[in-house]
Chain length 155, copies 2
Amino acid sequence: MSNDAARDKFKSYLSKKGHRVTNQRLAIFEAAFARTEHFTAEELLDYARELDDSVSRATVYRTLPIMIESALVREVDIGKSLKYYLPNVGNTQVAQVICVDCDRIFEINAPFMEWYGTTVSSKLNLTPCSQRLQVNAQCDSFRKTGVCKNRPVKH
Amino acid sequence: MSNDAARDKFKSYLSKKGHRVTNQRLAIFEAAFARTEHFTAEELLDYARELDDSVSRATVYRTLPIMIESALVREVDIGKSLKYYLPNVGNTQVAQVICVDCDRIFEINAPFMEWYGTTVSSKLNLTPCSQRLQVNAQCDSFRKTGVCKNRPVKH
DNA sequence: ATATGTGCAAATCCTTTGCACGTGC
DNA sequence: GCACGTGCAAAGGATTTGCACATAT
């Protein structure tokens, strides 16, 4: 989905839900969709403020759920205190692989997941709505040297 | 593993790590191992206080990581603000199925998970250390009536 | 015109921490 | 005895919310 198409979808979704199309919401949307890596709410605030310095933290937190509901953004919880977000390019069959040293998140295709969720849920007479596979892993450099080359300077 | 064996393991682990065997730690251990369902830190505090009313919240939060390190307790993060815990009966090949309405957590066997983790990590040249499969699902009663029979009264 | 949205700062939630006192080894 | 553990209350970080003002429809 192109960014233009995504923006249209966002605007339609807002209207459909009786929400207004505000400059702040658009700036937050643009900021999110300019990203190719995972970002936090705080980072999104910074990015959005570069486009519109009137954007506040509160509005970022209020807009994120809307973008998630509309499936334009995906929330990725890796069990840390804060959550990560990513523009959703349509692929829900994904697993996250997280480097235990640098916290870098890799998204990879996991087409078997849907089948598995169904198998597992049917044992309990449940119907799956979503599923997530999270793999914590070490990269080679970390195994050999104890340091991950991707590790940020501060932590 | 019997509770007696687990208690012995806990005591040995404490000693081995140069930690002391205190009444509070033992009470927290007993409280955790009396449980068959998932519990939160706050619930564990309540349970432990029934055994030893000198137990404080701080000590619960300081003891949980020790029990997790020693693999006596498993931490289960389902993407809510708080974390859940469960006495570990030795099975690490488990997935969590969570009812989206009542937040009840079911643990089910997932013998394929290790293979998944390896498959997925090898694409990135990484070595998996741990993995987690989470399935969000609806129970039949929720699908039909919009209410899950397990749903707690307050939410 | 008015129902929604907004920024700000305070509040909330869960968890962690500093400190003076208590206690297992 | 003394290092380690403890309870308390205060601090912490991420997120949510109440309120008066602003603005999209």
